[in-house]
Amino acid sequence: MAKISFHAITKQYPGTSRPAVDAVSFDVAEGSTCMLVGTSGSGKTTLLRMVNRLIEPTSGEIVIDGKNVLQENPIALRRRIGYVIQQVGLFPHLTIAENVRVTAEIAGGWTKQRLDKRVDELLELVGLPPAEYRKRFPRQLSGGQQQRVGLARALATDPAIMLMDEPFGALDAITRERMQNELLRIQRDVQKTILFVSHDIQEAFKLGEQIAVLDQGKLIQLGTPVDLLAQPANDFVRKLVGGDSILRQLEYLPVIDALEQDTVASARGGDVPTFLSDATLLQAMLKLLETNAPALAVQDKDTQQQLGFITLASINREITHAHGHKTERTETAI
């Protein structure tokens, strides 16, 4: 298990006027997924590649589990970090099984039987039946299947940290969504600390517990998808996360944001449907429309204690509130 901390990490390439990554500091919690988003040239890939020292920082520190990576042997460091990239980069002369085991082989210390067993386990995990795929070559696989192998290869030595650089960026929309779901499923089992570069905000919202928004090498905002939607740090973040989109707000903002205490329903007593506090506004709205109830009672998801009520009017107020908030900010910016 591993926690990653960035301390004022900076990368300045010689002959450039501004740093590619500019004094970025934040923590990625153990076993969590942090998405790095931003426009191209924002420094997200540079930041990622400094973690396994494919790029050496100009200044600052990256600390994994209390150890500064710059003081570690880079080869040993890379062997305990999984790395997945958009182009996959499977070795064409090796079979699928050989491609998966190569990371474990170079790290050493595996018996042949353990390696064989591990390869089958991993192919199973990424949804490629070993008996069918073990002996195939990369060029016989589709793009999505190749990336599954890429994922299996990165997981082979069971590294605590995974670095993923737009791994699903080259896949078609349907395959991409399937792979995202697979990653979520796998992550529930393996609990890696994942740093994931994406230019797709939908993907970032879906996969990330935390999202780090970068612009021109600077960390603009770090927060949960809801944080970014509800309190975007500036216009750039608001545009990037699609704060204008009512649908996205409904999809991600939790019901507790739109609670009210005194409603007609509360006066009438508890004959309204109940909802748990971790539901989204969208789920609540659909329930209201479906049941034609005047309100929903919201209960705390742990204590079952009644927190308040939610109505179509309160949802509407929450959305328009977010909108009003935005207009005001835009004016200040001008």
């Binding site: 494919l54 040993a76 790395y83 070795f91 002369h93 990371t103 170079i106 070559f137 060029r139």
Partner: protein, 218 residues
């Protein structure tokens, strides 16, 4: 075909018997390929990814390639006499163009992405060379070795002119005595050796090229 069927032509104690000439021929080809590779491999690696140097070296190799082997042997006889060197030098010069060109192409063809993937998974420089770079470059290098070897087997017949024994002896010695049976035997044996060597190297190439597109026969 008579010549090939006579048992006394296979008498090992006779230095001019078919098996001994065959071995001499193999020796000429072997030495030529060894020296050729020692020169061409480092040179090919050196000029890869250096377009101007590549052009210079390839132009020189191409110019040398156009000098007829017979002419070269004739000139060399005045310098190195009737010696192994006179026989080998033209052969080595002939292999250089294809070997240097294929080696440079092979090195240029190594995908930098795969080198980086190897590095990113924690390969040390030796592992990157052995597990990533060489497997990618070898099939193309071997393709060059295949062409060079087959060409050398043919031209090595001219070694007779430099006083070196080989299968060329059957042709050149017997043309004078109009023993065409023996001349044809020499031709058949050289052709056979070339075909066998070609198929063997094709097999090597196919093994090395696994996982990628199939290798052409020609």
């Amino acid at each position: 075909m008579n010549y090939l069927l006579q048992p006394y032509n296979y008498d090992l104690s006779d230095p001019a018997s078919i098996p001994n000439l065959f071995l001499d021929h193999l020796y000429l080809v072997g030495i030529t390929m060894l020296i050729s590779l020692i020169i061409a491999l480092p040179l090919g690696i050196l000029v890869a990814r250096r377009p101007r140097l590549y052009l210079l070296v390839i132009t020189i190799a191409d110019l040398l390639y156009t000098v007829p082997a017979l002419a070269l042997i004739a000139i060399l006889i005045t310098i190195t006499g009737l010696s192994l060197a006179t026989a080998i030098i033209p052969l080595v010069i002939y292999t250089q163009l294809v070997l240097i060109r294929n080696t440079a192409t092979a090195i240029n063809g190594i995908d930098p992405l795969l080198l980086e993937v190897g590095k990113a998974m924690g390969m040390n420089p030796r592992q990157v060379l052995l597990r990533v770079a060489l497997p990618q470059a070898l099939p193309t290098i071997i393709a060059g070795v295949r062409i060079a070897t087959v060409t050398t087997i043919g031209i090595a017949a001219l070694a007779y002119l430099a006083g070196q024994s080989g299968l060329g002896d059957l042709i050149f010695k017997n043309i004078a005595t109009t023993d065409f049976d023996a001349v044809v035997a020499g031709g058949i044996l050289i052709a056979l050796l070339a075909v066998v060597a070609d198929l063997l190297l094709l097999a090597v190439q196919t093994v090395l090229n696994r996982g990628r597109t199939s290798v052409s026969l020609a």
